[in-house]
Every structure is written in structure tokens, then in C-alpha cells.
Symmetry: C2
Amino acid sequence: MKFEHLLAARTLKIHDNAIREILKVVSRPGMISLAGGIPAPESFPMEIMNGLSAAVIEKYGSGAFQYDLTEGFMPLREALSVRLERKGVTASPEEIIIASGSQGFLDALGKVLITRGDRVAVEAPTYLGAISAFNPYEPEYVRLETDEDGVVPESLERTLASGSVKFVYLVPTFQNPTGRTIPLARRREIARIIQTYDALVIEDDPYSDLRYRGEAPPPVKSFAPDHVVYISTLSKILAPGLRIGFCAAPPLIREWLVRVKQGTDLHTSTFNQALAAEYLAGGHLERHLPGILALYRPRQEAMLTAMAACFPETIRWSRPEGGMFIWADADGGVDMETVYQRAVARNTAFVPGRYFYAHDGEGRGAMRLNFTLAEAEEIRRAVKILGEEIDWASQKKSGSVSEMS
Amino acid sequence: MKFEHLLAARTLKIHDNAIREILKVVSRPGMISLAGGIPAPESFPMEIMNGLSAAVIEKYGSGAFQYDLTEGFMPLREALSVRLERKGVTASPEEIIIASGSQGFLDALGKVLITRGDRVAVEAPTYLGAISAFNPYEPEYVRLETDEDGVVPESLERTLASGSVKFVYLVPTFQNPTGRTIPLARRREIARIIQTYDALVIEDDPYSDLRYRGEAPPPVKSFAPDHVVYISTLSKILAPGLRIGFCAAPPLIREWLVRVKQGTDLHTSTFNQALAAEYLAGGHLERHLPGILALYRPRQEAMLTAMAACFPETIRWSRPEGGMFIWADADGGVDMETVYQRAVARNTAFVPGRYFYAHDGEGRGAMRLNFTLAEAEEIRRAVKILGEEIDWASQKKSGSVSEMS
């Protein structure tokens, strides 16, 4: 039987996640991967997992394995309420809902909010997984300009003034892919703008706990609580394989997110939510987080030091105070697709920048480098190879390398 | 901020799952609930949960907590391939994909296949959760007639001959809500029809392992493998709180389901998939399943015996050989909404039949009774109360009870 004629109209707009295809290529043995956005497995609290599991089975019994509320497992929502308060986000346990990873909220928000052709404003570049989640609902993307401090407020204001925008999607802290963080003053300015234009912002905040230096600005949500859907995850500070995301949203949005979640997966794994509740309420996160930071900080430093030593001066890159990524940009000077092909042949992988743009043609000279998965020594080796290939590609571009070399 | 104007056009077609609202009402202490489709918590293999968890942590280490393939955790897919072969469904591990409950596949199939206005054929009555999953994609439902043996082949053939149908959704074994099973000969006939019309069937099979008597007919998929998406779950034979569903689908459909799952939740919980793999591959299911059947069989017998004793002769009901539900129908003779209101006031709950129809106006004299959650003695007490209230309502309908009584 042929099925092509059965596919929905929207389906042809859904593409393979390009990064996922890259990740398949780079899972080859011997490859040093700076490509993924994957936490180091040695960052997981494996030494307490048996204990956590036993504690949950002891405490909740069969309740940890039964159907549960679509909104989420109440002990987890209680623990998250305390945690969010410390970040400046006030939300009662009832106002917090759980999904199967923060990706679950991106899909649900697309389903609840986007009618075909609606305008959705995203940073250029932006998180590819959000684009993947929204695409099946067929929005038109509007490009928000960014600089070293993240989204440019004037670009946001111009966009909101230019016509209706369903929502604005932002990753304000240690953004994926750039690693950039919007500073405090700009957060206030963004809050003022979205309140002025009565606009809805989705604030995706998966990385803010991974801060190696400096002081954390509060979430945008704390400055405009009624206008922001705040989304986060335990993937980076507990374990991504448990698939626990959480969200604090204005009431109407929250109610619709719950309704569509009934149709999507009924609820998120009760057992995993109970494990997460025990991890948070038992104080394990506070004890464990310094170890995660101590693991990633030197990896990031190794990368920044190696880049300074090995990358040509024509390339600029971000120096984020945390997160998982560094973004390097040669503008028009280098074709990073060429660099990628040659680097992979030398067992070194990253993600070319063009995959992080909602519109084609941007980011051809950029690259995203992840520093959480590989060890410092591997990172130094990989960056050296990348530096050599960037040199080669920039000389080729300027004509000094023949096509045959 | 007001958000109503931001909702997508489709959102207004998404309704609260009515049964979920009923389940909230009936969670009151003291209520005997025959309303849910919930496994008894004492059916979960609690005695091995600590051991399963420890075995998974020992065997897979941090791999059980890391991001994993969207398609699913390979050891689980291998165990399911063996299990499906025994049921008559041939699928290699690579051909099996995992979702966060079988509900996840219903949503994904809607997303991949349904363009607004597409015709989707469903049994009348049918599983409400499927309607909830498909609704956001805005199909038109076509009604398939059913009798004591499930969907009527002539009705299916007429429907497929009458114009294009995107897919046919069937629950062939111990159907929710009727408990009915399509017999072997009719399965062959259905397979012939869908092959003749080159139609796609979604075969939802969550209950077939819960067989208390009689012999299992093979899945429809085994008679028309290229035309059937087979979906099942571990919710009824392990634990629903782990949210593990699985699917064997023709290649093109499978590939699209994986693509949309990337945008929905990236993948299903690795840890829970590993627990399920250990449960299946370690032979635990074979050891544990007889105990589940021994728990439910007397509950079902208690319900059928009590119904024979307490329900008026004007009511007909199903006598399924397994599953979780009995369906009783008084046709026009009783308004089951009235019975529901009065029974709940007496701490006895069920789900009125009308909620299981894609179209309004049907099933007003019907009721779905669940026998897996309450104990036999509670079931006897509840059925007696229901019998009294049905008597009252049928006398009222025929005019012999005054409005004031």
C-alpha cells in the first residue's frame, strides 16, 4: 500500500530535525563531538539513583505507578514552586504544570496558539527544537534581530508595532545556539515593550542553573508575570532521560495546555515525576549542582582558551558565563558547511550555524560548539582541528587555495 | 492580559475530556467508582519494582538517564518484537517505535494524517481518548455501525465505498467502551475489505492480554500487515504511570511518526523504557500476568452476576471474555444521565454512554461499567444501587414516578 496520498497537508512542512541527522553521523566511534546539546553522563547523580528510586517506592507505593493528574504530580509541583520563587517567579503548585520535557510545552503551545499563517517572532538565530515543534501548526516566522546581548529591544518593538504577532519565543539565558544572555536592563526593557503591546512571550529557560561565573539576572517572567509563559526543564540538572519539563503560565494558557496534554499523553510519567520531586525536596539538587558546575566550568575554559589560540582573528565568538554552547561567526569569510565536512572526516563534529535560523540563507559563516559532553583534552584537540579547517576554508574563500587541494 | 484572541482556530474545537471531569467528581472519599478505565493498583508488580530499578541502573548505568533515540530504547523494542511475534504480528525491533503511552501515537497519527475536514471512520461508540487526540486536527467523523461482534463489515465497506476516508480507527479486542471483541471470521472479512479499498486501519489494542476466558483471535494487523498501524501499551500489564506505548506501522507512517515525535517530546523516558525492557526480557510479565487475571476475573464475574440479579430485563449488556468494561444499554427506555446524577449522590459512579460517541444524540440510554478498580463486594453493592436507580428512571420515563418523588 502507498501512503503518500494520506499525509496531512501540514505533514509536508515537517522536516527531519537536521541536528538529529548530524548527531547520527557523529555517533561514530572515535568522533569528538562538539555537536550535540547533551549533558555529560558523568553529570548525572548516579550515586543516589538507587536510593531515590527506593525512597519513591517506599513513600508513594503503587501511587508512583498509577495514572495521575494531567497537570502533574503534586509533590513535584510543590517542590518546583519553592524553587521558582527563589528565581523570582511566583507560582503556586497549582499554577505549575508538568510536561514530558520542555519540548512537550513547545508542541502544546503551538497547538493551542498557532493558526496556519499566524506570525510568530523568534530570535535569529534561535533554538531549532522550537521551530520543529511549531512547524506542524504552519506559522510564519518573523525575525528578531540579536546582538551580543541577545534580542535587540528596538527590533522587538518594531515587530510588535508592525502587526499582530501570536507570540514571541525567547531563550533569554545562555541561549541555544549562541550562549548569549540578555542583561538585566534589557530584560526590563523587553518587559515594558511586551506590556505596552500586550504581547505574549514564551520564555524558554533550560540553562540558567548552569552558571559558572557572574550573577544571574531574574527571568523576564519576573518583570511581566501576566505576559510570559515560563518554561524550564530538569534535563540539565538531573537527567534528560527522565523527560521532565515544567511551566508557569497565565491561567487561560495553562488551562488549554492541560486540555491538549490530555489528548497528547494523558500525563507525564508518575514515577519519573516522583523521582524528580524526591531529588528536589530532599535537597539533592543543592548538593549535586556544584559538582555539575565544577565539571563543565573547566571544559568551557578549555574551549575558550583553545579558540583564542587556534581560531583566526577574523572570527568572533561569544564568551558566555554559563550554559552549554559557544557560538563562533566568521560572517561571510568562511563557509562552515565546508569546514563541517572536512572536520567530520577528521573525527571532529559541530553544528553549522545555518540550521539555527527560521529563514534560509543566514548563518552560513557561523558554528555552534558544545562544551559539556567532551572532556577538556578532547575539546583542545577538536578546536585545534577546527582552527586548521577554518584557516583552510577562509584561504579557499579568498582564492589562495586551489580547488584541487 | 486577555488571551482569548490568541487562541488558534483549532483550539475552540478541543474540549475537556468529559470523562476526566467525571473522574474528578468520583475521586471523593467513599465513592465506589465503576467510572474510570483504571487498573487496580494491586495489579502492579510492586514486589519487583525495587529489583527492576536496581537491575536497570546496574545494567545500563547513566545510559538509562541520557537522551536516547526518538524511535525508542532498543532493548525494549527487541523485547516487544518477540512479544508481538507471539501475537501474530511480525515486526523487527527497528520496525517498532515507542511513545509516551499509546495516547502519544493517537495524537501523532492525527498530526501526520489529518487535514481539516478529512473523513475519519470510527466505531459508534468508540474510545473517547482517540476522539480527544484527533479533534485538534479537525477531522469529520464517519460513523461505523457496530453489533455484538463489534464493527459491522457491511458498514465498513459502505463507508469506504462512499468516498475517501483518511483512516479507520478500531479497537477490535475488548473494546472501550463496549468490551466487545471482533471474532476471527469478521477480522478476516475486515482485512479483505481494507485491502480491497486500500484503506488504512489504526488497530488500538490495549486490552487483549486481559483475557479471562476463551481463545484470542489474532490482531487484524496479522491479516493485513501492510494496511494496519498496530498500537498497544504496557499500561494494563505493567503500570500506566510509566507511560509506555508501542506501535508497529508501515514504513512511511512510522517514519513520519518519528519525525513528529521529535517535535513533541524528543523521546519517551529512557529509564521507564529500560524498566519495561527488563520486565519483558526478564520473564517477569509471564510470571506476573496470571496474578492480574486472577485479580480481575472474579471482579468481572461479580459484576455480571450482580447485573443479572439487579438490572431490569429491558436492559441488554455485553458479556466480554476479558478487558476492563461492560456496556449496558437500555436503548430509549432510560435516561442514563439521570441515573448518573442519582447514583453519584449515593456514592456510586459510572460513565454515561453518550460520552463515547463522536456525534451528539447517541447513547443516552447506555452506560459503561468498569470492573477492574473496585473490589468484588463493592461492585455488588454498586450494581445493586445502579439497578435501583435504573428502575426508578425507567418508571419515571414511563410516567409511573412523579417528578416530586
